[in-house]
Amino acid sequence: MNGGIVLNWLASTPDFAVPYALAALGLIICERAGVLALGAEGLMLVGALAGIGAQIVIGQPAVSLVLAMLAASVVSVLFAVMVIWLRVNQVIAGLALVFFCQGLTALVGSMAEWTNHATEGIGAMGLWPLSLLPGVGKLFEQNAMVWLTPPIFGAVAWFFARTSAGLRLRAVGENPQAADAAGIRVTAWRFAAVLAGSALVGLAGAYISVVSTKLWIAGMTGGRGWIAVGLVIFARWSPWKALAGALLFGCIEALIPQLAAAGVQLPQYFVMMTPYAVTLGVMVWVALSRRGADEEPGALGQPYVREERR
């Protein structure tokens, strides 16, 4: 493998990593508040469809991305009502959300005839002056969303670590009984966390459709939402580790087309298995190393029922 391929590979990595990163970050916000968010796969599809729909109708990428976030938030209200108010089992509710969104997006996409309708994405933006460097300058030619992702991560990490609101949110996920006794409104915080987290997951989906592929195909997220759920466990609910994990997955996914372009003969479908196999691998690795087992939010997956004695 020569230098050009490595450079191409690294340059295309962020494009693959951003959806994982944003989806994992959204999930971390939900799960830090104690809501087990299995619906990421579905919400990414909603974001992807809403983004491409807005792109076809309006044609402004920035507007499309914002509308996609809104759409995912609106759909997640259904999930939030189910798990927070109606105290439905969070696994059942998350699965139902995924399948609801899969059905809904496939239906809307084909009835609105948005399938395979190519749109204009957003162009690359050089990070001056690094993009002027000879050779490696290519690495710094990325689209605006790539440059926006680290600041979003920084903001969320700062929110969790340095603000009292972040502390409240974590308290709600760690021990809702104690948070409630301290006067924190568990229901309201969890609702807000689900809506905000879902917006980021929707943005991740919209990134895939609006920025990466620039078209919509039913079920186009292809399990990335589930991989993000695994990524959050891998990252032990820490934003920066999630970003690192997303880069790892981005590297692996970006390698596939580069190898194909270099003429390396590999069985295609085995290559397509790698992201899933790697996810399984890191889950096993996390379980084996047993590090940071106490970083899991204490009340993750448990509905908070004030009337119930524990």
Partner: protein, 396 residues
């Protein structure tokens, strides 16, 4: 503490945030509540209570109301998608159940549906979220097809061998996640789902690659020979439905009569207490999960040898969620699962005819299933809780 003071913040939005929780404030709330019996409607407050028990008639009524709500929402979606409102009842009820040919189509469709539903029931009884039903189904079909492709065994033993191969392959595909869960504590939701995607890609590798039918350009394996297909019982009804029925009875026996069923109830109620009282918890969970994989593998066999007569590229789609939905709606009861599976099969058949006659995309079927799950899951709230009126003035 008196139960009247146990309020949910849902019903009483500002009960906690305004005042610091002092012991005296709770007492202060109690007093005026009984003193003011009459209040204006807008000021009435309600408290949420856990209901210990509900007569089964009321439970049935709530379930029926939830199903009705689900059907109403589905009907609204169908009408919005362009199905004429007056045709709905005709399409769904008359055409599906009272037309001989369509009813046979439902039974034809029901066999794998019952099997995946049972697979879901058995795994969920052991508190194992086996979301890998599709992957195990794919492997079951691959196993059966391998026996046919490589012509293993004499002709009259071929079908039983395919049956055994399907069971073994489905079982082996779930062995990994079961071991990872019990040995290392790896989340089975993620691991089984990842294995689904891997199995689906492996299936594509086979049907686009070495197992592709040389006679055609389509991605499927060569047609099974006649003795490799599940025979018809007569009147157009295949023997796969009989197979599904037998497995359903076995599953019922296992869950309700056998010792393992009792152990499963122990494990479901409380694994630690079960372990302390001498129940072989791990062996019970392994048994249930492997059985679940075997049943899902059989579903793959039922599709390959009973319906398609070959290995096709997307035969499994929709079964994974249907299996989970069937087990959930049937409360993990195998006999109820059989009935629910028949209804889901009817929904599939109707969905196909809607696709043909009204150009409604088949994803509608998935949407309707999800809507019904959401409604039924939500209705549980009203079985487990009740709203009770409490004093309104006292709260602030």
């Amino acid at each position: 503490m008196a139960d009247a003071s146990l309020m949910a913040d849902m019903a009483v939005p500002s009960s906690t945030s305004s005042t610091p929780p002092k012991a005296s404030s709770a007492v202060a709330h109690e007093a005026p509540r009984n003193a003011q019996p009459v209040q204006p409607l807008a000021r009435r407050r309600y408290a949420l209570e856990i209901r210990q028990h509900m007569p089964w008639r009321w439970q049935a009524l709530i379930l029926a109301a939830a199903l009705l709500a689900g059907f109403a929402i589905s009907a609204a979606i169908l009408i919005a998608a362009g199905v004429p409102a007056d045709e709905l009842a005709n399409e769904f009820v008359m055409q599906t159940f009272f037309d001989g040919q369509n009813f046979r189509a439902v039974l034809f469709q029901a066999a794998p549906m019952i099997l995946v539903g049972l697979a879901g029931c058995v795994a969920f009884r052991a508190r194992f979220w086996n979301l890998g039903l599709e992957g195990q189904m794919i492997w079951g079909a691959i196993g059966a097809t391998a026996v046919s492709m490589w012509q293993i065994g004499p002709e009259n033993l071929r079908l039983p061998l395919m049956f055994i191969a399907a069971i073994c392959c489905g079982l082996l595909w779930v062995l990994g996640p079961a071991w990872l869960k019990l040995k290392l504590g790896v989340n089975e939701i993620i691991s089984t789902l990842m294995l689904n995607y891997m199995a689906a890609n492996f299936l594509l590798h086979l049907v686009y690659g070495s197992w592709k039918d040389p006679k055609d350009n389509f991605p499927y394996s060569p047609q099974f020979r006649l003795f490799e297909r599940l025979p018809e019982l007569g009147a157009g009804i295949g023997s796969s439905i009989l197979l599904a029925g037998v497995v359903a009875l076995l599953a019922w026996w296992l869950a309700s009569v056998s010792r393992m069923g009792l152990y499963l109830r122990f494990v479901d109620a409380n694994p630690r207490v079960a372990h302390a009282s001498g129940v072989p918890v791990r062996r019970t969970i392994y048994g249930a999960v492997l059985l679940s994989g075997a049943m899902a593998g059989l579903a793959g066999f039922a599709v390959a040898a009973g319906q398609e007569g070959r290995l096709t590229q997307a035969f499994y789609q929709g079964y994974g969620f249907s299996g989970i939905l069937i087990a959930f709606l049937a409360r993990n009861n195998p006999l109820a699962a059989t009935v629910v599976a028949l209804l889901v099969a009817a929904l599939f058949v109707t969905g196909r005819s809607l696709q043909v006659f009204y150009q409604v995309p088949f994803s509608m079927v998935q949407l309707i299933q999800a809507v019904i799950v959401v409604c039924v899951a939500s209705s549980d709230f009203f079985i487990r809780h009740r709203l009770r009126r409490v004093g309104g003035e006292a709260v602030q």
